[in-house]
């Protein structure tokens, strides 16, 4: 077994670090909240800077203008960015949507959208959840019907990240009115500027806006802005689920390691020699290392096209529950100062802990709740019988 980075991977990691030294993350304007996953704040400026390096199209095939690097390079890029606290908030969404466009998108979509993604100009929201379709996604009501050269889209999506500051979204909608459950669903790409789009912010418990609710009223979407053929939406979703979950959390371990580093700094300065703090921080360090190993294992399976559903769900589950434990430990170690926000007088550790503590409570809900992950591991990973569905 070999956990080493290859020479080209190591060279790439050095290149990313050099880039971060030359372009300190804090010098980029931020235009959206940090959702706490490790991808930092939302910054169009930083996203464009990554685009200039060709890093938003790192693993794309050459015919789409990519560099055709193996996925290990992308993992290194995201790990290094997270370790440095860089504001690459929109990037994971760009990666997921561009991957889907490359796999399923029409030539029109590929020609029109991909170059904008590569330059860091197009960013995306994903429209899956609806007010009455959360963990039971297949209860969704958003629908689209074909009218000449356009799909006419109606419905509501909710909890879409950064939707109000993105340029486009992907919407899972029923395109066959006669269908039920997983059949007859399609993934459509929409431009935020289309008439009939109403994107409203949802202020979260952090006091900031991360999620949006999207109202779509007879939005006319060009016919070729569909991913694949009508009715393939759920299959695409399912196929992409493992990789989406993987990439959406792939940088959480280096992020938590960075948080742990600041907690160590705090304990050394404020409560040196505290044996309980010492023990718990060391324990957290072992768990973060185990989380990273689990992600590397999942990456290895994914890269070889091997089944990884259980491993990816386990990694996501562990990432988000461990994140809550580490940030809870942080709040405890900061004591009464922990509640002071960034910018407040007397705030410790730049007020970062309280914000990340608050965001962590959304992570075990987003991208499939922890309950959904556990059921997925049990049924699809371990082969336990599925819970019978109630009839009707």
């Amino acid at each position: 077994m070999d956990f080493a980075r290859s020479d080209s991977e190591q060279a790439f990691a050095d290149e990313v670090r050099a880039f971060l030294r030359a372009h300190p993350p804090e010098t980029f304007a931020e235009d959206g909240t940090d959702a706490g996953y490790g991808s930092g704040a939302h910054s169009h400026a930083f996203t464009r800077a990554l685009g200039e390096r060709g890093w938003l199209s790192l693993c794309w095939p050459r015919e789409h203008g990519g560099q055709a690097k193996p996925m290990g390079h992308l993992l290194i890029l995201l790990e290094e960015l997270a370790a440095a606290g860089a504001p690459f908030g929109p990037v994971p969404g760009c990666l997921q949507v561009s991957d889907s466009i490359i796999r399923h998108g029409s030539e029109t979509l590929q020609r029109e959208i991909l170059p904008q993604v590569a330059r860091g100009e197009a960013t995306f929201w994903q429209g899956y959840s609806e007010p009455d379709a959360g963990s039971d996604l297949l209860a969704l009501k958003t629908h689209a019907r074909l009218d000449g050269d356009h799909w006419v889209l109606d419905g509501r999506k909710i909890w879409s990240s950064h939707a109000g500051i993105a340029t486009h979204g992907t919407v899972l909608a029923r395109t066959d009115a006669a269908s039920t459950r997983q059949r007859g669903l399609s993934m459509l790409m929409v431009d935020n500027r289309l008439p009939g789009m109403d994107i409203r912010p949802i202020r979260s418990l952090t006091g900031q806006v991360y999620h949006y609710e999207i109202f779509m009223d007879s939005v006319r979407v060009p016919r070729e802005w569909i991913m694949g053929k009508p009715g393939e939406g759920f299959g695409q979703l399912l196929k992409g689920l493992d990789t989406d979950r993987f990439w959406g959390r792939s940088y959480k371990a280096p992020f938590l390691r960075r948080i742990l580093g600041s907690l160590v700094e705090h304990v050394n300065a404020e409560r040196p020699g505290d044996p309980v703090a010492r023990r718990r921080l060391a324990q957290a360090a072992t768990e973060i290392a185990a989380l990273r190993a689990l992600f590397h294992r999942a990456a290895w399976l994914i890269e070889r096209g091997l089944p990884a559903t259980g491993e990816v769900s386990a990694a996501k589950l562990m990432a988000d529950e461990l994140g809550q434990r580490v940030l809870s430990l942080g709040m405890e170690l900061l004591g009464p100062y922990g509640v002071l926000r960034a910018g407040s007088p007397l705030a410790r550790l730049r007020g970062e802990i309280e914000h990340q503590y608050q965001t962590s409570w959304g992570h075990t809900l987003a991208g499939g709740t922890s309950e959904i992950q556990r059921t997925t591991i049990a049924v699809r990973g371990l082969g336990l019988p599925a819970e019978p569905r109630p009839r009707g």
Partner: protein
């Protein structure tokens, strides 16, 4: 990154699994745990024909010249079968110590260890019960006389030799003594884990100059790398045992029917099994990453091993404890193998440094002053 097993590792895995399925079924593990001698000398003879006791001994000293990676695959399988054996003490730690020390005595003993003719125990712990230099106080002088006590020594009843770590005039010193050297006495302790543990008393025992492994005062130099490897070995063993608990639980959840359907179709049970899987997988790959760090000679290998040992102990114990809840009442019975795995994990977690000791290494590595 390449996380696949080498062909040599695959061979070890297949042959170990097949052998242990036939020769070390749960009933035999159970019988050995209940038996006061508790050690299958004939089993050790059988595994000797497979080359396990000499796996880490170079071919020129009669061993198999295997890699650390092969030994860890074997340890996962030993853990998965809950096989009681002096493998970690004799074939990993004592062997590695003797190889590091070199010299006539070590080179005379190693070929016999490889053949399974002799077994070497480790006499390390004292009253403090901690595996750290400050807790080792028994005075040793060679040439000279040795007196004192070593505690919680595993398998002293079947060992032919023992490595004793004591304190000499110039620092910690490791001695290699035959168990039949006059003045060495073993008193059995009664452990719930099925391990056979002893108190070793040394009464005016002669220590000769050539009993010293390495140099006088150089005990840590010859033993520290071996103990690190021992910690890694115990991690792999715990991963294997936890893997088996997961398998037992999933199998039980599939076939046990209550309320008209398998209990594994209830979310409460599914979610418990999911947690077992997360703990087993994360522990496994952390242990393998540490093994890689060691074999690749990475400067942070000691921290990687401490991290793995601390995490594997806690994760594997979580698996065992949660496993009881999945398995239900039958898992509480003596005849069901679950408790054997639980106890093996408990024992392995305490051996080669309990989690607190390794967490201290981690604490220093993350910069805690």
């Amino acid at each position: 990154m390449d996380l696949s097993l080498s062909s040599a590792q695959q061979l070890v895995q297949q042959s170990a699994r097949a052998f242990l399925r036939e020769h070390c079924p749960p009933e035999r593990v159970q019988a050995l745990a209940l038996d006061p001698r508790g050690f299958a000398g004939d089993l050790w003879k059988e595994v000797a024909t497979l080359g396990w006791p000499g796996l880490l001994i170079p071919a020129e000293l009669g061993g198999g010249g295997g890699s650390v990676g092969e030994a860890l695959v074997l340890l996962e399988e030993l853990g998965r079968a809950c096989c009681p054996s002096p493998f970690v003490a004799s074939a990993v730690v004592a062997t590695t110590t003797l190889l590091a020390a070199g010299g006539r005595r070590a080179h005379a003993l190693l070929p016999k260890l490889a053949l399974g003719e002799r077994i070497c125990a480790l006499a390390l712990l004292e009253e403090a019960g901690r595996l750290e230099p400050g807790a080792i106080t028994m005075a040793v002088a060679a040439p000279g006389r040795v007196g004192g006590r070593k505690l919680l020594v595993a398998d002293a009843h079947v060992a032919t030799d023992v490595i004793v770590l004591g304190r000499g005039a110039t620092g910690l010193t490791a001695l290699l003594l035959p168990m039949d050297r006059p003045g060495i006495q073993a008193r059995p302790l009664d452990s719930m884990t099925g391990e056979k543990l002893f108190e070793l008393t040394f009464t005016d025992v002669e220590a000769r100059a050539d009993d010293v492994l390495g140099s006088a005062g150089g005990g840590l130099a010859v033993m520290e790398p071996a103990l690190r490897l021992g910690a890694l070995a115990r991690s792999a063993e715990m991963v294997g045992a936890a893997q088996r608990v997961l398998e037992l639980c999933v199998e039980h959840a599939r076939v046990r029917v209550q309320g008209g359907r398998p209990i594994g179709s209830y979310q409460a049970v599914q979610h418990a099994c999911a947690d077992l899987f997360r703990d087993v997988e994360s522990a496994r790959w952390l242990a393998w990453e540490a093994a890689w760090a060691l074999e690749a000679g990475r400067p942070d290998a000691d921290v990687a091993i401490a991290t793995a040992k601390a995490y594997c102990s806690e994760a594997a114990l979580r698996v065992a404890r949660r496993g009881h809840q999945v398995m239900g009442a039958i898992g509480y019975s003596e005849e069901h193998p679950l408790h054997l795995f639980h106890k093996r994990i408990l024992a392995a977690g305490l051996d080669m440094g309990e989690p607190a000791l390794h967490l201290e290494t981690v604490a220093r590595a993350i910069g805690l002053g």
